[in-house]
Symmetry: C2
Subunit: 589 residues, 2 copies
């Protein structure tokens, strides 16, 4: 028992810090009233009238009549989607008032397994970001359809769940429940027995299918697309996560529906899932999401509840975080404004330590000395040459009909398009005029030398090749180009720099961004990386590319779980049938 | 994994039971909509449109357009206060739609220790009542001021917390936190480490004192007296339990305040704490409390939430019970009416088994074969005679001023009254005309033969003596009378029958009710026991007694924790100073 904490609470001993003269946003009662917060060490000792806690040695901060809220919680985020190492990521989100995240570090697991995840968790330990570990329930997503570096089975999941910071399993796939995948079923039993949480990944689950997922023990989900899907989850006692990710901006519509339907919002939180470093640097994190929600009509207190108490509830952590009350972790924000126009996080305390002061970040963490298990993760079994990417035409054909996959412009969901392509020297040719490019994924763990090949549309890139070692859910090297030579240079360059992203044109590297950690993460600051990304994206836009966050979209084109088509190192995937397809449909001439 | 459950959810296999054609009260969203509930074994498989779950072998119940709610949960009740053995208690509460309780079986622990509690839990196993065990945090309440049969220290509490049905510790006393009682502090650390709940007993805790209790980890409390105290607890993230007990009817006022203040009621539940068998037989359980709450202005859905989801939340059990959703325990009520006048539980399912059908209880449990550890618990070290109760007057005194304790008529809280009493043959005499009776508590565990003695007012009993082996928090034999002879007969009779209650007049037992289990519980049914109690109370009322539930009030007069005075086997207790006092203040003549 922390007896000093009790002594501060009773007023026997002065608080370490007091935030005074604010308006308490009480997420438990939904009230707002004048008051302050008294802190002892990393814990809140008193809330409301806290003048009695001020004494010798107490650091007093005047909230200036602004709101005092709990620190924000993102209950479903993959920090890797920012392409930032965990320390600059922590700096970036703390600067926006986020003090806790729940994350599976799934991408790290895909490349470097549990050992890699544990290395990242260790790197985070010196930061002030409170990171809960939700153990990946499957690594990779589709073991039969892709090659990954790390792989999880029920035994590894069980071992990971025994970590003190482990709070459950992540991304429990609805279709896998319906199919009764043995490792998943075993892991669901494990978390049920331990009282931990099964976090869902339940796109398209409705009615009976959703009933089965809930019956299997899934108690939260972030994959609802629209308002009715959000409400269906809430009705089932499933903590519904309204999502505003860099790849799918669905929050405003979801909020509007929830507000109009008048449902109790206790079971609704707001998450970002995948947050690009440019969004994080320029737009913000949950502070931005609150603005979107306010703009969409959500009352202020309910918006705050959705990024604090309700987010904690999604993992049964209400007794530790998510509210301003004695005994809770001292995660506190001072916030100005309660409208979309005026809302702003001014100052932040994380576990009792002030990390943000009137907009100025007070913490800067040193670049981590990365463990070997998360470095040098790109190994080619066979050399990559232009020939590696060629798709052979049927003998004698001069023109073929192929199934090209096109991404939607606003979300990286793919749809088939039938096109006719010429064949030259026995190989099918791309056709920039028709917006049909080569796309391939190159296995990079030195395991089998696979190269999956297909045709891609929707980006409108007119020349060169873009490559990236970030590709869900295997993080092999994805490369898309208008010619084989540039594609080969790009892939080989990424192997040379051990991961990252690059654009190559006429055999020259126009722009590259190294990702030394797992080929996924940069050690730059969020601002610096955003500037690098701008440069890369500008080079692509100058060549006609219409997708602003090209590499993030590409990373989802590899995901054999996202409808309706995908490319992995195994080949061209029909996501609906889970089969590998030949992109060539028929000979035309 | 229960694969049949998933198959029922998806519609592959028919449900065991379907409750159809109802109005679902969805406690998660606060909505009411048409639908039904499909059950597989002891678990809900589907909610809403469940027609697809009906097939060969499905038992279909037509809800007749009535409401379908989750089974009710009493998150703080001492079954022993009904004076019923656990099986008739289970029958009685199931008949009113209560399917789960959280209880510490503290009274059993006081008499027979953890072994006794475990015997009762085992007796309950054949019933359909879902009983969670909240380990008593102190047995007895005041070890320095009373003698008990069982006693708990931190080690026993830790052992008990390892039971699978243990969900936390109970009745964590605010003043003991402030005093830093070592066993309690250790137990609070234990539950914090295990993620279990610390349930409070926080009367009079306000401001800094309440902050300290919350900081110590207490996360629910049932001791708020009025509305402002309820809201203070909720503001602190503490699950506030609005209480309607047979000894303290405070629910209506608390509800009115909560409704008027407009606070979010997520953190409010309704409990009964101590429920007398007469109330249980004639008035009901939580179904009655709902009526009180509706009458006081609480909206229907919020009232249902307070006896279901919110009650589950007080112990972080929302993922198991408290709502109608796939995967939850199939505890379901069909309810008619949504007003104080019309509300009625018609039918009930507990863990998928129908136990109540249109008001008719379908289950009748056999009387338990009680384990020896909970039988024959009354042993006197020394014989009790009329002399045992005499209070010696100061030498030569013919009249003394004494401090008499008077109970309030509506709650067994005592207040001092100074009275002058005559002394005869060297002993102070009671004075029926002034409503001053003898009261004593006789140690009954054969440990020390203590007899504590004092003077009692407020009951207005005019002749005879009433004795009971139920007396918080030690359950020694409490006896109150107008003369020593009847008092001695009464106590000796209770020892002869090994516990119970009796009224004696002119040396004859007018009425007795045996309590074979721990001297606390009867094996009669609730109706039968209520009839017996009526007879006893009528005998007392015929002799002028104005307290309708005399023995329940007497049981609290022994409680050295309830202000301001008490009687234990150690003597006359000043609860505020925790000291034993001499009831004789001064010699008058």
């Amino acid at each position: 028992m922390d007896t000093k904490l009790l002594d501060v609470a009773t007023g026997k001993v002065p608080a370490d810090a007091v935030i005074a003269n604010g308006k308490i946003v009480n997420v438990y009662t939904g009230e707002i009233y004048d008051g302050g917060v008294a802190i002892c060490g990393n814990t809140i000792a008193a809330v409301g009238d806290v003048d009695y806690c001020i004494g010798e040695g107490t650091t007093v901060t005047d909230a200036g009549g602004n709101y005092i809220t709990p620190g924000f919680i993102d209950a479903h985020i993959h920090p890797e989607s920012s392409d930032l190492s965990i320390r600059p990521f922590a700096e970036a989100v703390l600067a926006h008032g986020t003090t806790s995240i729940m994350t599976d570090l799934h991408e790290i697991g895909v490349v470097s397994g549990l050992e890699g995840i544990e290395a990242i968790i260790e790197e985070n330990e010196i930061t002030d970001l409170n990171m809960y570990f939700v153990v990946p329930s499957h690594v990779p997503f589709s073991p039969m359809l892709e090659t990954s570096g790390g792989a999880f089975n029920a035994e590894i999941i069980k071992k990971a769940l025994e970590r003190e910071d482990a709070i459950g399993i992540s991304e429990v796939v609805g279709h896998y429940i319906l199919a009764g995948f043995p490792d998943l079923m075993e892991s669901l039993d494990t978390v049920k027995a331990s009282g931990q949480i099964a976090a869902g990944h339940l796109p398209d689950m409705k009615g009976p299918a959703m009933n089965a997922c809930l019956a299997a023990g899934v108690s939260n989900d972030h994959e609802a697309l629209d308002g009715p899907e959000i409400v269906e989850r809430m009705r089932g006692g499933c903590c519904a996560m309204l999502r505003e990710s860099s790849a799918a901006r669905t929050l405003a519509d979801q909020v509007k529906y929830v507000v109009e339907s008048g449902v109790d919002t206790t079971y609704a939180s707001i998450v970002s899932d995948d947050l690009h470093c440019i969004d994080l640097a320029r737009t913000g994190h949950l502070d931005h999401h609150i603005k979107v929600a306010l703009e969409a009509g959500l009352p202020f207190v309910k918006a705050i509840q959705m990024v604090t108490l309700n987010a904690a509830r999604a993992f049964e952590l209400e007794r530790s975080i998510g509210g301003l009350a004695p005994g809770k972790r001292a995660d506190v924000n001072i916030v100005a404004g309660d409208t979309a126009e005026t809302f702003e996080v001014k100052s932040t305390w994380a576990a009792g330590k002030q990390v943000l002061d009137n907009g100025e970040l007070l913490v800067h963490y040193p670049v981590a000395e990365h463990k070997p298990c998360i470095l040098n993760t790109c190994t080619l079994l066979n050399p990559i040459t232009p020939d590696s990417f060629k798709i052979a035409a049927p003998e004698g054909a001069s023109k073929v009909k192929v199934k090209c996959m096109d991404t939607l412009p606003w979300i990286p969901i793919t749809q088939p398009r039938e096109v006719e392509l010429a064949c030259v020297d026995g190989y099918v040719q791309c056709d920039v005029a028709q917006d049909v490019l080569y796309i391939a994924q190159v296995e990079r763990y030195g395991k089998n030398g696979n190269v999956g090949k297909a045709f891609m549309g929707g980006f409108h890139l007119a020349s060169g090749a873009i490559a990236s070692s970030v590709g869900h859910d295997n993080h092999n090297i994805i490369v898309m180009g208008t010619n084989f030579e540039d594609m080969a240079v790009a892939v080989n360059h990424l192997v040379d720099i051990q991961g990252g992203q690059c654009f190559v044109e006429n055999g020259e590297v126009v722009k590259d961004i190294p990702y030394p950690v797992c080929g996924l993460l940069s050690d730059l600051s969020c601002e610096e990386l955003a500037a690098e990304k701008d440069e890369l994206n500008a080079a692509l836009a100058a060549r006609g590319c219409i997708i602003p966050i090209t590499c993030m979209f590409l990373s989802f084109i590899c995901l054999a779980a996202l409808p309706t088509l995908a490319i992995t190192d195994h080949g061209f995937i029909n996501v609906l049938t889970m089969q590998i397809e030949d992109p060539i449909l028929e000979v035309v001439e």
